[in-house]
Amino acid sequence: MWIYEKKQEFPVKIKQQNPALAKLIITQYGGPDGELGASLRYLSQRYAAVTPQSKAILNDIGTEELAHLEMIGSICHQLSKDIDPAEIKAAGFDSYYVDHGTGVYPASAAGVPFTAAYFQSKGDPLTDLYENLAAEQKARSTYEYLMRMTDDPDVLEPLRFLREREIVHFQRFGEALEGVREYLDSKRQFTVKMPKNE
């Protein structure tokens, strides 16, 4: 089950308004390679996992991604909460604003709402881990593209943290993959129930 701790994993304290940047960063909230997709992917894959270590890794990384979701939501909120209405159109923020105001809504930078189609839970322990390795790389690339879009250190610091977390997660999924391979290749005993004769 989940419990909420009233603090951030990494602090988000932004001084300068920048709705144009918020429009881009929202993609890590509800976009194809964002934190919501990541957490639902791993938390959904847990059930089909076969080794205790891979269950733990899926559970714990899935949980950490929720903390990252909160960070991204905080960044977007703080970047847009006090914007001057006269600047909305110039910032390219108008199409988001008319549907969501300065609220936070899970969608991509292009405005596509979040969908479960952004992730897979295949029920095959090897397939799921390969999916996760790819997912962490996609997230890392996205953070790199986002980091190129700003010089604001208040924004860059949390983005840099989040990017490095993707690299660490990739490593852990890689280790889980080895554990699952060993398990699947090992000698295991199955008991098959014989059907009764009619």
Binding site: I3, Y4, E5, K6, K7, Q8, E9, F10, P11, V12, K13, I14, K15, Q53, A56, I57, D60, I61, E64, E70, G73, S74, H77, Q78, D154, E157, V168, H169, R172, E175, A176, G179
Partner: protein, 91 residues
């Protein structure tokens, strides 16, 4: 004691615990890692108690409510600028 200082130290310790725990998930036999993890958790525990005594509950339905008002609801909340601190470089 300064809220930002305690919160920063607690944030740092809890993060070490998260990164170490993820490592231990795939290295359950690493004694060195377990020792370090427990040290971090122990220090964080003490600091968490200090923070809660001074500034209010940190956990939903786990922390005591130590005042007459249910100050769990108090502003600021973590997604707000005022809640947070700048990490900087020094301890």
């Amino acid at each position: 004691m300064d809220r930002d200082r305690i919160l920063k130290r607690l944030t740092v310790l809890d993060f070490l615990a998260v990164d170490l725990a993820l490592y231990l998930d795939s290295h359950p036999d690493c004694k060195e890692g377990i020792k370090k993890y427990n040290e971090v958790v122990s220090e964080a525990d003490g600091l968490r108690e200090q923070y809660e005594n001074l500034f209010g509950p940190l956990f939903s339905y786990r922390s005591y409510s130590k005042r007459d008002e249910f100050n769990w609801t108090d502003d600021p909340w973590p997604w707000e600028n005022d809640f947070n601190f700048v990490v900087g470089g020094e301890e």
